[in-house]
Symmetry: D2
């Protein structure tokens, strides 16, 4: 029953972490903090948590930060922390999308590792610039496409890679939600307000917020590269400027002699779905199905045999899932554990960087390339939809 040693690694000093955004009331900031803490690899020591120095200090106090390291802006934090002897080694950027690029830039150029929420940026132009910056920097850039941290997503990826379903023909992705079924952005709901505001979110609404997750996951599991897509986007709620529903058809680049196809549906107006992220991949010899709400299960059907339920850390679950598991099978791990896996993978890379060592090739986290792909996806969806669903190359 024990997963021997899974949570006990030779201890290195914790990584000193700063945070941009994530002040009181922000959902995703709290998630990042728990994720950073869960496996004990990080210590939060500084923050530019809010848009004013006062609020930032107040939020910092709540989190037990030294007020002297609670900054009024990310730029100030970057400059000051870079000069400190024990300044931050990494920063988590958890602001609305339009801030990602400018914030990341300040840290990357000072050699501070960046762990950034997705989507990468609010514009494709920013994304391309950030890609160049990240490539040029010695610091790591980690994008929290957190669903790739779920053990059974790792398991699915391993099974595809190992040929257990044969060459892939189909990838079906969906991420329906219902929280924007009504016009709650007009009622002061803070999360809804910025997510439906093009100035803060960028060109994509549901496509950027959740479609990128589904797309990222489909590629992560299948190992395929998108070639072109055709999209039909809608804003069903009156007055909404960004898409709240998207239907996308996809064509992937040839791999193993097959040109795979896919569909993606993301929606924020689908009553009955909280976070209905689901990925299905079908090959010539089998199929896989995974659902985010029940993340410890992976359904696997070898063609012509009964469907099998592989459970996290249970029978049939392999090395890739085991590396990111903490508790025995039958005891569910959830969203925070998956999120923490991204942080812990990043920590393993940062530990190696500290020592000038090579990063273990098993270490796996989403990068700026994944982020750029996501932005290209959003842009292609928007372009295609404007051109009445014409196919757009990516």
């Amino acid at each position: 029953m024990a997963i021997e040693g899974s949570a006990v690694e030779a201890r290195q000093p914790r990584i000193r972490l700063g945070m941009v955004g994530g002040g009181a009331g922000a959902f995703i900031g709290a998630v990042h903090r728990i994720a950073a803490r869960l496996d004990d690899h990080y210590e939060l020591v500084a923050g530019a948590l809010s848009s004013t120095p006062e609020k930032s200090v107040a939020s910092g106090r709540e989190l037990g930060l030294d007020p002297a390291r609670c900054y009024g802006s990310f730029k100030e934090m970057a400059i000051r922390e870079a000069r400190l002897k024990n300044g931050i080694e990494a920063v988590a950027i958890v602001t609305p999308n339009h801030v990602h690029y400018e914030a990341a830039k300040e840290f990357l150029k000072r050699g501070i590792h960046v762990i950034c929420d997705k989507p990468l940026t609010s514009t494709l132009a920013d994304a391309r610039k950030l890609k160049r910056l990240a490539d040029a920097s010695n610091a790591l850039f980690v994008l929290t496409h957190n669903y790739t941290g779920y053990p059974m997503i790792r398991q699915a990826r391993q099974m595809v890679r190992d040929g257990m379903i044969g060459p892939v023909r189909l990838v079906q992705m969906e991420y329906p939600q219902d929280w924007l079924t009504e016009n709650i952005e007009q009622t002061g709901q803070k999360q809804a307000a910025w997510r439906t505001d093009p100035a803060k979110s960028g060109a994509g609404g549901s496509t950027g917020d959740i479609g990128t997750h589904a797309y990222n996951l489909g590629c992560f599991v299948s190992g395929l590269e998108l070639e072109e897509l055709a999209a039909d986007l809608d804003s069903f709620v009156a007055g909404r400027q960004l898409d709240d529903n998207a239907h996308v058809m996809m064509r992937f680049a040839e791999k193993d002699g097959v040109r795979a196809k896919g569909m993606l549906w993301c929606s924020q107006v689908a009553p009955g779905h909280e976070n209905g992220l689901k990925v299905r991949v079908y090959g010539t010899r089998g199929g896989l199905e995974w659902v985010q709400a029940d993340p410890n299960y992976l359904w696997y059907t070898p063609l012509g045999e009964p469907k099998r339920l592989i459970t996290r850390a249970g029978a049939g679950s392999g090395a890739d899932a085991a590396r990111v598991s903490r508790v025995p099978s039958g005891h569910p791990e959830g969203y925070l554990e998956g999120f923490a896996n991204i942080y812990s993978e990043a920590a393993r890379a940062i530990y190696a960087k500290r020592k000038g060592a090579k990063v273990d090739p098993a270490v796996l986290y989403p990068t700026v390339d994944d982020g750029l792909k996501g932005m290209v996806f959003v842009d292609a969806c928007v372009q295609s939809s404007k051109r009445n669903g014409a196919w757009v190359k990516v």
Copy 2:
């Protein structure tokens, strides 16, 4: 616990039924016979069961038919039975698609009611001709889009009609299967052979065989009319002439002020799916989900409230489902019962016809119009796919 009287209706003499196709080894013929028998409304008395007189007689003997009424061709049966004093009143046509039109014509023009398997015909031209014939005939034309006979599909339709989910924004349909993942049409599998042969099936493979079911069901439940579609069809299996996978985006005609959208996926190469027909409908105030493999359940989420599991004949299940239910809730009804409901609805209409009475408006079965819509759908899919996924009006 009892559904009082549900199976006990004032008895009329059984309807005399003939069958075209459905000889030994045919799956769907046996299904039609059970469906006809289940509620005791029909008596099979004649057949043109196979393509030669000898085989037809042999198959008829197995079914207990009078050899004198086992015919070598549907035309012979139509002519002879029309002249008999107690000749057949109705005929079930259960052949491959390319025979439907010619067979139906012979019976309709002689005033014999036709119960025909789907898709309506193998070509759109035939479908249009059959539509005209059926409209001109005094006889009924019933298409066995059998899934519309499932009680919880009736329930879903009623709930949409009653406004329980508000105006519909989204209709998501899928029907994945895996039985044609490999090239079994080359190995002598009879069902596979004709279904992948354009001469027998028509222009659509998976689109005709199962896509039409999913499309029919999406419209049946939502009450919407399709306006245009964009499709991407594939034949993943080498050498296969007809589509074995289809991705379709849909735009529906405005209703209640909303222009709904939809997606449809049908596939015969998706390992892990036997008959994975699923329909989901989302409105401004709620959502519905139904899965064919678990047909006694309907998932209903009123926006902002917990999801509810409505069961056939159970709490929350209404009049439309009750009329086509036989046993108490918690005792599952299945595919054959749903299929039988089409036959029994047809019987109610035929009983009324016998008496020259009006058919009870609650009686509901798919008609030639539904069949024509299905053929238009297949044609539009094929046209769109040929034109690289361009939108095609229907």
Copy 3:
């Protein structure tokens, strides 16, 4: 996809069937009629459907029976039909329990096969007498423990017999319902009234009505024989005379070197359960789980391997299930099909009897022995509960 020939057997003349009970408004009578009709082995030709000649004739007319063969009593029917040239060959007894014995006696002694609803009788004494009568008679006695007709129950039984889970250690049975949570027997609900009346039901309430089903199924699948039980029975609803909830611990006779144990829970006061029959069997090398509401699935876990979902007529499903299946996997069969399987198995035996031939050993239906075991089970439950849960040998 086709199950070749499954529904097409060489046709024999239909078996002439009579029915005792099952007049208008009776749930189970209608079920028996559909079950008899489904595979076309029976023709209902006579009935003593109600307790008065007038009602019996009226009910008979509704069913299309010849009024001359609608009798005022089962005794009259037995006497008259036995004398007719084409009198009934078999009779279905679908009355409340207290009538079973007297009715069955009249037919058995005249060589008319009996298909009788469960539980066998209302008293253990009657059950023992009926056992002797049935053993002495040349006619068949078939008890409709209908759940043994479900294909995946046959599959489970085959897998246990074939050693796929090793020697059995545990059998867990449950059958919760909620329809008697309130005192509906006082409100004129006919089904509730007789089922809660000791004079009509016998000594057991939930134990007799549904506990016997669960017990029968546990033994059927596991192949074990009960040795002793300890029971705690309750009548939670004020004024109710018979048990509406029973907790039972079981010890089975040694088999394959193991003395298996079991638990059984049946309840009619468990809100949320319609017909929650579930059977789980665990051996030294694997486990099985089956749920009546989702009867086309059998969950199988070989020890140390992932759980598998075996589907009716799908991959991993064997010969025992195939013989009683009609439609391809992924198209659900339900309660009526399972019930019909008992009738069709009986028909196969009756056909053999007609010819004086041996019954195919694969033919399987519950007998008077199963019925007697059920009565002994009910009696033991009642005795044990009276003696404060002492162990009672069976």
Copy 4:
């Protein structure tokens, strides 16, 4: 979507925590450490992690502990830490059961709060002594019946308390596992070895290890007190000294005019179950069902209405669940989060203790009383089974 402020509380200095047991390779020690860390209320600063000073120091280094505070025995740790200015305020005891009592004693008598794994002790006598010690101590005693930390278990408890299912009639508990199906204690599996050793585990095998969890949860949710039980225990695996399967019937004390009944099944030899903990509670007006493997769901059926799926932090979920939730509905929380809730509830009590303030009555964690009840339950199971399943008062 955000649960505003749920993870951001006014920050107090972290609680200084020690740990007894939990050295390298121990499953539950790692779980306790993550649970303590997750909400940032504790800082692990000392440990008596293993049975020798060397191993303890080695394990401590791995965890980043000061070697000077890695002790060779819990007694040494208690004595030394009690004298330190910033010595530990609380200790987590995560050893095999037989060490709990002696260890807890040393800390309680020095005013150090104890957070102890379950079952409380290895003998009932120890449990009674520990109860007296805990009652007499000013320090808190918290037992990690961690499943009571699951939000939807809190939700279920609240719904019962609020009368949403009416007075409770039935409580059905089960906790099947399969990891001891074979004799792995003979193969060097460390977890199995001590858990099947009476000297370390105590008189109960499965009853102590998992039966106590199920029993605790049944009482926690239903609010009922057990009055007597009848048990049938087995050791199915040859050579095993402790029970690996238990069947238990229960009678609860009268509440709201009803004397409820229950069943409990725990097993470690049930192939197909990883940690199959399930609790079902039925009242006169509704029923509830919760399954540990899918802990974010609570099934609720109001009598006569459709079943509802209440999700953690979703619609229908109330205050009790919200206080112990971190992320929005649809993003699953798991075992570690539930476990962390016990630690965080304890922290809230310890914070109050620090200030001499009253503990918020909403704060809820299992106490020594729950632990004693668990030990009485195990003892009663063993006694009853020895007396052939006689009813034993608790």
